[in-house]
């Protein structure tokens, strides 16, 4: 199967002006301008199959948004190759642009003073969507996103969450095959985040669309993506399943148990918290089964759970571990 997205040795270097602080440096920069090359993306390779939902993770400045912009044709790569749906994105061919979308959580594509429905009508013309298809898709999206009332109000009167849902609706009217989602839930409350997630999962199931998603909310990634690509300083640190990420990088596990007899617990592991009979211990992963066995046998434990650490912590360990591939 030909992947929808294929990236090989992709690089992006920006030349940025640089000067010291202060008036003297400011005057000097008038005569002699110094620049520095900043590598935003340093030779990454990956592929995404049709219908796959992939989480693209990394700290601020890791190169996630730059990569998404190259994949959607907004930025020209400095080196390497990109193919999305068989197209070279930087050529910005119309057939390519009609089949993708880029949703950026902090950008507004809707007409500010008008109801979103009016922007949707413009999108229908721009993307040459036949009227019956447009009406059907629009109504389906409005129903899925539960924004029937909101799309009739001027966009400026919508809350951030309502506006984001209206944005997502507008970005999907042309039924794109590939979705690039850059922080689609940024700034939204938990309920709204859940709705957007549920919607994206539903959209993927219905349309078989390919999605590459960046988010600082791990809940987004956990809910939607089986596979993650972790990037930092422009290079890929990990590309594989989210489950394997925890298995591979989580060095410790958390044991939570109701323990009537708490004597000698310190010798089993780090006691993280005690709340009445409920005790939380952190132990090395290779010892967790043995510790659980001893708790059950020696401490009269009535219930017990063993958990991997939160994915955020695992990701942090990936960054700390440097470039490691599965």
């Amino acid at each position: 199967m030909e992947p929808d997205i294929r990236v090989e040795e992709l690089e992006k270097t920006f030349r940025v002006p640089e000067r010291e602080a202060g008036l003297r440096a400011s005057v000097r920069s008038l005569v002699r301008r110094t620049t520095r090359d900043v590598v935003a993306v340093g030779g990454i390779s990956f592929a995404v199959d049709p219908g796959e939902m992939v989480g693209f993770l990394g700290p601020n400045g890791a190169g996630k948004t730059t990569t998404l912009k190259m994949l959607s044709g907004l930025l020209f790569p400095s080196a390497g190759t990109v193919r999305v749906l068989g197209h070279v994105p930087s050529k910005r061919e119309k057939d390519f642009l009609r089949r993708i979308t880029l949703v950026m959580g902090n950008r507004n594509q809707l007409q500010w003073d008008l109801p979103a429905l009016d922007t949707y009508a413009m999108n229908r013309a721009i993307y040459r969507i036949p009227e019956p298809d447009f009406r059907r898709t629009r109504d389906e999206l409005i129903e899925l996103l539960e924004i029937g009332d909101q799309v009739r109000k001027p966009v400026r009167q919508l809350s951030l969450g309502e506006r984001m849902k209206a944005e997502v609706c507008g970005a999907l009217l042309h039924s794109p095959q590939v979705l690039f989602l850059d922080e689609p839930t940024i700034g939204l409350d938990v309920t709204m985040q859940k709705r957007i997630r549920a919607f994206l999962a539903e959209y993927n199931a219905r349309q078989g669309a390919t999605m590459l998603l960046t988010s600082h909310y791990m809940a987004d990634v956990q809910a939607l993506c089986r596979r993650v690509v972790v990037i930092d300083h422009g290079t890929i640190l990990y590309d594989g399943s989210l489950r394997a990420l925890s298995t591979r990088f989580a060095q410790r596990q958390t044991i939570t148990a109701t323990i009537p007899d708490r004597t000698g617990l310190e010798s089993l592991g780090e006691v993280v918290s005690v709340d009445g009979d409920r005790v939380t211990l952190r132990v090395d992963k290779d010892r967790s089964a043995a510790v659980a066995g001893r708790l059950l046998a020696e401490h009269g434990v009535t219930d017990l759970t063993i958990e991997d650490p939160p994915v955020e912590d695992v990701i942090e360990q990936v960054f700390a571990a440097g470039a490691l591939r599965p």
Partner: protein, 270 residues
């Protein structure tokens, strides 16, 4: 309008959105239009006073003809309001251009359609202002049906030429970030050589010669004189032809600068 697709559909939907948006700000628009009218009224009062002290005419133009010139000026000015380089600066700084680049259509179509749609509102709002100016300054008009027909085309020619020129200027933002100073130079040249400040007939011969070979007069002076002047049929039609030439030049310039500018944007980002 509901079933149009492609470019006609885009123009119809965008122009409609522009009309709806403008109607939401009608009071602000009136204030804006009144502010714009102040400029030609100042010119008109000055030239009328000069005409009075020179036996009723300056360079053969009477006070009534000055009134006709500057009243038509106010309408032509509404028509050639276009997307400016300041808009370009904001569009690039706020990253709004990215949204336009993601669409499978050249962004200039959006601007042309949007500002064309605005005219429906601004010209409607201008009508009572034009009537007041007419009563106050008693213009002298001698208009033929051909002149009306040519004017109806020429104001759109002016719109297209000015749109293209200011788009090209705006695209300098791809390289310089700030384009305001360059726009000021353009604005000064346009003021002097377009017929905006003074009818071109009153310019010294050498300045008139320069104005003849530049596009500015086809955005102000020519369409105004079609209605307020006394151009021959040949001059009327030649003017339309030259507007077509300058529009074509503008289209080529936009295409070329856009090609390099987008590469630059793609290299530097927003």
């Amino acid at each position: 309008m509901g079933t149009l697709n492609g470019l006609p559909g885009l123009y119809a939907a965008t122009a409609k959105a522009a009309v709806q948006t403008q109607f939401q700000y009608r009071t602000a628009h009136y204030a804006y239009i009144l502010g714009m009218v102040a400029e030609p009224v100042v010119y008109l009062v000055v030239w009328s006073a000069v005409a009075d002290t020179h036996g009723g005419a300056v360079g053969g133009i009477t006070a009534g003809q000055f009134a006709a010139y500057y009243i038509v000026w106010t309408l032509v000015r509404q028509m050639n309001i276009v997307f400016t380089p300041y808009g370009w600066e904001e569009r690039i700084q706020k990253g709004e251009l990215s949204g336009h680049l993601l669409r499978p259509v050249h962004p200039i179509h959006y601007d042309l359609a949007y500002f064309a749609g605005m005219k429906v509102v601004t010209v409607a709002l201008w009508l009572p202002i034009g009537a007041v100016l007419w009563v106050a300054f008693r213009p002298t008009f001698d208009i033929s049906p051909l002149e009306v027909a040519v004017f109806a085309v020429a104001i759109w020619g002016a719109y297209l030429i000015r749109s293209m020129l200011l788009w090209v200027l705006g695209m300098i933002t791809f390289w310089t970030t700030r384009v305001g100073a360059i726009y000021d130079v353009y604005f000064t040249a346009e003021l002097l050589l377009s017929g905006r400040l003074v009818p071109l007939a009153l310019l010294p011969a050498w300045a008139g010669g320069i104005a003849d070979v530049l596009p500015f007069k086809y955005t102000f002076g020519y369409p105004i004189e079609v209605l307020a002047g006394s151009l021959s049929t040949r001059e009327l039609l030649t003017g339309l032809g030259l507007q077509a030439v300058w529009t074509a030049v503008g289209v080529v310039l936009v295409a070329v600068v856009w090609r390099f500018g987008v590469r630059r944007y793609g290299a530097v980002g927003s």
